[in-house]
Symmetry: C2
Subunit: 450 residues, 2 copies
């Protein structure tokens, strides 16, 4: 993505706090912040970690340009701020550590996904950007995983393609959603920029306007095939889906048609009738693509009803996570050093918003059959037997600890991780949430903090 | 916003159709597309047009770079496309007309907000970007208007500030939401980039992490005041809101404090008790700011309960339009010229997705008391008596018809437009939707199209 001007893509209070820490000689105090989600969204049994690559890109490129600094100076609230703070911003860069779950990891509410260990001022400045990126990508990857799961409910492989860019919250959200949907298991996207930037396979043929621009569907189908013989998916619902399906048998190139798309009407009935019509003509090779306000629930219904649909195009519901468009992610201070280098544990005690102090690690335990048995939330220094820690080092002293995985690798990794979910977590209609348990040591520490 | 690489921020099918029109010698046929919303969201009685400035910026700067074109060439579907199409893309620019409702205009489902009159290929290519920008900005401006309305439910002026960037769908969505929220009536935003780019007033002080980073709330309050004496809003809910409010009376600078913020707990009870404590100390000047998962319904409850809150900070619900995060906006072909220069009217007849053909205009009629009486949807060439047309020329032959209004002007205009809404439309808890009626001529034409 574009990194220009990113330093100002933040909440003002990150900058007022930065100036405040700086002037109070607290900028360099070592602090630990954790980013986590408090509540499981309805019907979700798991979340899919997504967005880390964009976060790392942001952190590695984060700097304040002269223009940025001049603007901050001009904000009325900054009138009394000491000029040395603006000098500091000129050379700002992130020098701390970042620990995180790898993208495509499965996690649950209450578990830190990202952990920043850095000078207080640096850790604070990251907050807003990290939250907004992780929010949208994790939401969409999670939703996409559910949609793909529904499409394959009967054990048969069916594909889902992201068609949502037009309904995303602006062009950038569409691109981030395309990436997240791919990680969540989609076959590809309609978003061309995402295809170029991330290498995601691209799909798309024509809209209804194409069909309408011609005098007849026959003419529209032929004109399209002439230009795109290798990509011959015909849109058949502009006027009368069944008539259009019959029209196909009159096309000279009918044996070369790859698919038909139905975007409206009763998809269960229409897909069955269209399949019959196609099969009667021996056009068994023609796949049926369905689209139009689909989501995991509607797709599950179609699969259960044995609608002969091969590919689902999913848009709005997936890219906006329509039924739950915002995770309650927070970025909380959990540890800070005092002046003497001792660690102080920190927690909020606000009503309904209590947090658990201390730098943590998530320890995942598997059954003998390689299913997730339980996650424990413990102190970072713990290492319970037979568990695997989920937070891994990503940045060390401001530099990449190791190369980030390729997108294909992340997608494959998530596909494998899904297999570790207990059966009950795979029901998309009911939440079965494996709430992490605190280790005795973390519980004791948390209780002692009031 | 950043315009680089915008040409690829689109659905693949816009480009396959473009190539198809080009190779079928249809690229230059004059076409009319209309962008409109089909369904009123629940409880909404009106929508606030927002996003036109970003759309115009996109169109005026739209071009395909060599890198963009090389990428399109490399997409497998484009294998058989004639090289002359890629030559055409090199010199692509929008040469058509754009008509639109001004930003900040009030509109209803069924009314075209944007109308593109252009060579078919040019009009088609704009679709995805236009939809995604208008979707998010219109959603958020509409939601913000409702939130502001609730805050002033009893006729008393109260301010709303956008705090939502962290929960927006990525950094760009946060910036667009800040703009839309400002147009919808917010006092300002926490988003620094939006402050710089759009000149929106900025607000923000500290997070809970600031309070926790100090040994006591007293120390945290004092350290903040030392740096920001002009911006002294103290966050008082980190541990115990009432204790923190009492702490304020012990601050030497208590007479200079501008406000306190409460971000959790029972805001109705806490705001009343905090107000009492402050008043007892003679601190009548200290404003109470409330935040934390607020929306129009919760704010209305607080106002009805006479909670002494002066300013509301609103985030997630507003910037994601949480209860309805996607409008069903579509971009439909309504007219096209045939080979002989005659106009053909176009409409979709898909089940549940029927559209009304012909280039249209919206004619608004007002009562004698300057309230909206009725909108009529008519042919573009009509001019019913005593009505005002809502679609205005924005681009003519690819160039600005006139300068776009400044943001402050748009905000002011919306504030005035709200006053034209009938009383029944101002109830945020029930939809009273003034459905536009078709003029006899448009109804006749629409019926004749089947």
């Amino acid at each position: 993505m574009n990194c220009q001007g990113n330093a100002l893509k933040t909440d003002l209070y990150e900058l007022t706090m930065a100036a405040g820490y700086f002037q109070n000689n607290m900028a360099d105090i070592k602090a630990v912040f954790e980013l986590s989600c408090h509540t499981m969204p309805p019907n979700r049994s798991y979340l899919v970690s997504c967005g880390l690559e964009q976060i790392v890109e942001y952190i590695l490129n984060l700097k304040f340009s002269e223009e940025d600094i001049n603007f901050i100076k001009s904000i009325p609230a900054f009138k009394a701020v000491d000029p040395s703070f603006f000098e500091y911003l000129k050379s700002f860069k992130f020098t701390g550590d970042l620990w995180a779950m790898p993208e495509g990891e499965i996690f649950f509410a209450g578990e830190p996904v990202i952990q920043v260990v850095a000078p207080l001022i640096e850790a604070q400045i990251l907050e807003t950007y990290l939250l907004s990126v992780l929010n949208v990508e994790t939401l969409v990857a999670t939703k996409a995983a559910r949609v793909v799961q529904a499409a394959c409910l009967d054990g048969k492989e069916r594909s889902v393609i992201d068609f949502g860019s037009r309904r995303a919250h602006g062009p950038q959200a569409g691109i981030l959603a395309a990436r997240a949907a791919y990680i969540g298991g989609c076959l590809g996207t309609s978003n061309v920029y995402a295809g170029k930037h991330f290498g995601i396979p691209l799909y798309g043929t024509v809209a209804h306007s194409w069909i309408e621009a011609f005098d007849s569907e026959h003419a529209a189908f032929k004109a399209y095939f002439d230009v795109f013989p290798q990509n011959s998916i015909l849109l058949i619902d502009t006027y009368d889906t069944l008539k259009a399906a019959q029209e196909i048998s009159r096309l000279k190139f009918k044996k070369d048609i790859k698919g038909v798309r139905i975007d409206s009407g009763n998809l269960k009935i229409l897909s069955k009738k269209v399949r019959q019509l196609l099969n009667k003509e021996g056009l068994h090779q023609v796949k049926i693509i369905a689209s139009g306000n689909l989501n995991e629930y509607k797709i599950a219904e179609l699969v259960k009803a044995k609608a002969p649909i091969d590919i689902f195009g999913v848009g709005t519901d997936m890219v906006t996570s329509r039924d739950y468009p915002a995770l309650d992610l927070t970025y909380k201070l959990v540890e800070i050093e005092d002046g003497k280098g001792n660690i102080q544990f920190k927690a909020k005690r606000s009503q309904g918003k209590k947090t658990i102090p201390a730098r943590k690690q998530i320890f995942r335990k598997f059954t003998k059959k390689c299913k997730i048995e339980r996650d424990s939330l413990g102190l970072f220094s713990e290492a319970p037997d037979d568990t695997i820690p989920l937070l891994k080092p990503v940045l060390e002293a401001g530099k990449l600890a190791q190369g980030l995985p390729a997108l294909e690798e992340i997608r494959k990794s998530f596909k494998e991780k899904v297999l570790t979910l207990p059966e009950a977590c795979l029901n998309t209609e009911r939440s079965h949430y494996l709430k992490p348990v605190l280790t005795p040591r973390l519980r004791q520490l948390s209780n002692s903090q009031g």
